[in-house]
């Protein structure tokens, strides 16, 4: 099936189309949702290869649940963020005590900046990722969903299965911790004292 305006079709309608055997719907859903899953997983895990595995697994779970999806009951993105958060939590638990290399971070998509700008941007993103990696798992998840993915607190509460107040507390503590950590890395952020 060809879609005249794929963006006009809600995620859950695409999911129903997929469940009914429409291959194009799968492609649309992948294009629309997988980059967000990959971004979330990459920020939480700080590891490119693991983030890709999580993305594939989360999307596989979406394909499997498609026939049972009830339109209008939940948002597909919220469900997918929750699955991704849980998959990331499982992986973080498994590798507890292991080290993470911020150089494994995803490549940054940008509008062709200069080499210097690119290097500085990479350094800032690495610094941010390094700081995120130092946060406790739940704080990191809340901060990523709130401040990088731009979700509202009620949706984050639904994803992490905690209260809205708990989300506010996690994000506030997370931001304070990031400020403290990054204040010591001003040079990596390009804040040269001149």
């Amino acid at each position: 099936m060809a879609f005249d305006d794929p963006d006009a079709i809600p995620d859950d309608a695409l999911l129903v189309l997929y469940a009914n055997g429409d291959a194009e719907a799968a492609r649309q859903l992948t294009t629309r949702l997988a980059p967000r899953v990959l971004a979330q997983a990459a920020r939480i895990l700080g590891d490119r290869a693991e983030a890709e595995d999580v993305t594939q697994e989360a999307m596989l779970r979406l394909w499997r649940i498609a026939p049972d999806w009830r339109q209008g009951e939940a948002r597909v993105t919220t469900w997918l963020y929750r699955v991704t958060a849980n998959l990331c939590t499982d992986r973080l638990r498994r590798r507890r005590g292991g080290t993470r290399d911020v150089n494994d971070m995803p490549e940054i998509a940008d509008d062709a900046p200069s080499a210097d700008q690119r290097m500085q941007q990479d350094a800032r993103m690495d610094a941010l990722q390094g700081a995120l990696n130092e946060l406790p798992d739940r704080q990191r998840q809340a901060v990523v969903l709130r401040h990088i993915e731009g979700l509202g607190n009620p949706e984050i509460a639904e994803i992490l299965e905690i209260s809205t107040e708990a989300v506010e507390s996690l994000t506030a503590r997370g931001k304070r911790a990031l400020t403290r950590i990054l204040s010591g890395r001003r040079d990596e952020l390009g804040y040269d004292d001149d």
Binding site: Y18, A19, G21, A23, A26, R27, T30, T31, A34, P35, R36, L38, A39, A42, R43, R48, A51, E52, T55, Q56, M59, L60, W63, R64, A66, P67, P106, E107, I108, A109, D110, Q121, R124, M125, L128, H147, I148, E149, G150, K175, L178, T179, L182, S183, R186, L189, G190, Y191, D193, D194
Partner: protein, 142 residues
């Protein structure tokens, strides 16, 4: 990019401002990773596989319903194996009472009917009525 701080702010206290942190978040938000082609292909392969599995499962004819045998229907009809066991016991008890009736049964019947009966398994008539008629006929020369 203005990181939400002035040099004065940075020098004073050397602490990252909220504005600088928010700008960093915004930069990260717009720097979402590209979806690698290989990953896209793997995700779509999974989608096809799941779709094919489901369609195959739906196309598979349902298992034929096997009709229960007469004996199975009988057992089910009387209430299953426990009822069958009870029926067996009752049958055996009835047969036993018929062959070897206790004394109180025969005396009770005599009291009611005013007749005396005696029973012995050895008193079973081994000659059928038909044999008796045949004997009669042959002795009279008919």
């Amino acid at each position: 990019m203005n990181w939400g701080t002035t040099m004065t702010e940075r020098k004073a206290g050397d602490v990252l401002s909220d504005g600088a942190l928010d700008a960093l978040f915004a930069e990260a938000r717009f720097a979402e990773p590209d979806l690698p082609d290989g990953l896209t292909a793997r995700i779509l392969e999974d989608a096809q596989m799941v779709q094919a599995e489901r369609l195959a499962a739906e196309a598979r004819p349902p298992e034929p319903v096997r009709r229960a045998s007469l004996w199975q229907r009988f057992v089910r009809g009387i209430g299953g194996a426990p009822a069958l066991a009870g029926l067996g016991v009752a049958t055996m008890a009835g047969l036993w009472l018929g062959v070897m009736p206790p004394a109180f049964v025969t005396s009770g019947v005599s009291a009611i009917t005013g007749t005396t009966t005696s029973y012995s398994p050895y008193m079973v008539d081994s000659t059928s009525a038909f044999d008796f008629i045949v004997d009669e006929t042959s002795s009279t020369g008919g």
